[in-house]
Symmetry: C3
Subunit: 347 residues, 3 copies
């Protein structure tokens, strides 16, 4: 993420930072983090599960974070930092090894286009060639990346980042501390037409598109505006890449939707729902709180709260798995059944 080389850190300091204990040489220094099989001398790695013991045995890392149970696992690397949760410890260490993305400056790049009446917080950053529409409001510490277009009257909350090439249509509102990746579109017209006089006449879309606080939206995902009411994405919800949210959809708080998932118009996704990759949800239905829908499922009826659904049409995952098993056994059984039926002419 950074082109600057990080400063090396002593393993004794690593142990202090994560509340662990050094086994081996605490004076050895590490300057990067890598997985066991890719680590080179000078890297710190981690071992959290015995299933990676073979990779651990051969790692070239200078130091390895290990659980107490695995502190004595056989391996070439003698320098170990023993800590209860190596994976979490590693995540906590990342900002010491890598420079996290940060605003390159405060203010407006001279190549950006800011229309009259836009209000930009003094400590916000508007990067090269961004366009800020008339009457838009950019909050404190917000970071508008290169080539983003913030439409007329749009509000962007404090601490929110639009990475690059993001489009916020007029009528969009994005909360605080959001992260919208490259190519996200918020507030495009919903897909609504009435067939009249031999053509598909467009239903005007005058609703808004409201994204709550702490939302992350992946690259090239799209959220349509409402036809009359607003489309809403609740606080703390995270969408992956290439996700589509239709018009008038109300997504609750703390939902997760993996790549390629698409929600048709006016569906309601309650709080804490998880939708795996490439899921499809039909319009005007409800997925209850904390329900989980598995990958590639097609939801065409309501899903009760807390249930795990899958398949097409989506139904309880246990039924789905039984159905798959039955289908796999089916050709052989059919052969035998047909023989049986031949002998039962009246059946």
């Amino acid at each position: 993420m950074s082109s600057r080389p990080p400063t090396p850190i002593r393993l004794a300091d690593v142990a202090r930072a994560v509340g662990g204990a050094v086994v081996g040489d605490g004076e050895a220094t590490v300057a990067g983090i890598a997985s066991l099989d890719r680590a080179a001398p000078g890297d710190l790695s981690f071992l959290a599960s015995p299933k990676y013991a073979a990779l651990f045995a051969g790692t070239r890392a200078t130091g390895v974070l290990v659980t107490p149970e695995l502190a004595d696992a056989p391996g070439a690397c003698a320098n170990r930092v023993v800590v209860a949760r190596p994976h979490e410890a590693m995540l906590a260490l990342l900002p010491r090894f890598y420079r996290m993305p940060a605003k390159p400056f405060e203010g407006v790049h001279p190549s950006a286009v800011v229309e009259p009446g836009a209000v930009i917080a003094p400590d916000a950053c508007v990067e090269a060639l961004a366009v800020i529409g008339a009457g838009a409001a950019i909050g404190a510490g917000a970071w508008i990346g290169p080539h983003c277009v913030v439409g007329e009257g749009v509000t962007v909350g404090s601490g929110t980042r639009l990475v690059s090439h993001v489009t916020l249509y007029p009528g969009a509102a994005v909360g605080d501390r959001c992260l919208l990746h490259a190519g996200v579109r918020i507030g495009s017209d919903g897909f609504g037409f009435v067939f009249q006089d031999g053509q598909h006449r467009k239903i005007p879309h005058v609703g808004r598109c409201v994204v709550g606080d702490d939302v992350e939206i992946g690259a090239n995902s799209t959220v349509d505006r409402g036809s009359i009411d607003a489309t809403e994405i609740g606080a703390g919800t995270k969408l992956d890449n290439l996700v589509h949210i239709g018009h008038n959809v109300r997504v609750g708080r703390l939902c997760l939707m993996a790549a390629g998932t698409m929600i048709a118009g006016s569906a309601r996704i309650e709080d804490g729902v998880t939708l795996a990759g490439q899921v499809g949800v039909s319009g005007h239905l409800t997925i209850g709180a904390k329900a989980v829908v598995t990958a590639q499922a097609g939801v065409i009826n309501d899903v009760p709260a807390g249930q795990v659904y899958g398949g097409f049409p989506a139904r309880p995952q246990k039924q789905v798995m039984r159905g798959y098993a039955a289908v796999a056994r089916l050709p052989e059984l059919l052969r035998r059944i047909e023989q049986l039926l031949k002998r039962e002419p009246d059946a």
Copy 2:
């Protein structure tokens, strides 16, 4: 869509505009439109079906458009405008309450880049930081949004709008009165390679990509150019977000394709076809006129005109539904059949 507050309208004037009759206070004024459950005082709402009677009973709207049958439905809102089709009436009223999107100016923004030989109609609008290639032609009243790139020699018809961040490759032609949403790509190379000498050699793509009149294409959708001939999107066809149209595909007139639908190369989609969300269509086949394919279906053979197909491989929807029902009953039946077969050792 607009940051300007609309002018309040008397219910008597609403009734006159839609050919309806006021029940209650015709002097009451409304300044916005909202659904029954979200309406606030000052809003107009609508009730078109008895299934929303509960929402109607509790609405806070100042006035409600209702059908003659529902004119006396019990509810807090006493001011009603009785009209045969409340939903259509509401759509017709939208432009009175909301400012529809319109070109912000005529001419070329000083930050736009226009290459030599491009011809731009005097009443067209080219917004900030757009790029118009050499020899391109922008029609009367067209509206090229910020950050759009119109390639060399491309034609854009009169009254067409490219919202923002749209790419039209050289060789693309877009008709009149089209609407291309943010991030649409027209004329990218098709996915065609020949394996020779140990590598995938690219098949040159010199065909064009022709979009007819009155076409709408949703955000981040892609339409590839033809390899030799043109890829074509027929007049009046509407594509939703994240749709993909492969090289050499010929899409007819007045088709609808919902989000995530993808058409492989050289397929032919005849007039009036509807493809629901996340449908896949294999290459070199034909979907007949006015056929309908249901959500997530996978089409690997021709679909006859006028039929409703679904499932994978796509087949008549009635068969699909019977198949799903049979699969759902299968595990229990298999258990019993296996018991039966155990007693029929010769079967």
Copy 3:
């Protein structure tokens, strides 16, 4: 692709170029290439299979490339160039008829924004309104299209083209002779969160995103960066439009992935794998070398090298096809089986 009219070519010269023999008038000239049914006088077409004999009979082309077996096929066009592989001959001729895309100039367009410390090869082209970040390196002959954003410290190899609106996040590296279509995003954060203290906390993504030589990536496709290690796309691999590659995925050399295919995090796709359209691959699994996965399949377990898999959950394609056939016969059989079971109360 070009707005310049090509120079007409004599059929005798066509024959010489492809090693064929003229039947008919070698002095006749052609100036374009078109399919049999769309060709006009002045076009060259081709006939490679007897199934297109009807189109051949009626073509208006001035000349047609034909196989020796079809040299005497009945048809209006008497001028034929007999050659062993008409389709390959036609591909070889394309550059004579059409101008292939090429850099419009060498150097940096005055509207582009180049940050300090970026190094751009003298014969590279940086088009209008592109942004080149600090410390980025653009290789010899590379072509950075309009509105592309090349992040801080990113390397772009020699001869590589970014078409337009491409985003390369910091930490990305793209090899030589690559082609990245409009709207491609390389290096966006992976979809990784840990639920702590009532919210989805983001896992920092500090890994890189490395694209090998000779890779083509289709319009609006996305490749996420690794969490710690790199996401990798191997040399010679080709991705279609709207493809998604998750964090830490390692894609081998010479793979093909058709539109809408999505690979979840940490999966490993070995060399020479083909994934058809809309395939989904779950995280942390392996698809063996030269395996093929058919359209819309959902891979949730490893796929052995060299196998053809399909369906959901993906399994050998032969099993899948037998399963589909069995399901299609199922409703009728179930009816008969239930009658049978009624007579077998103990079963």
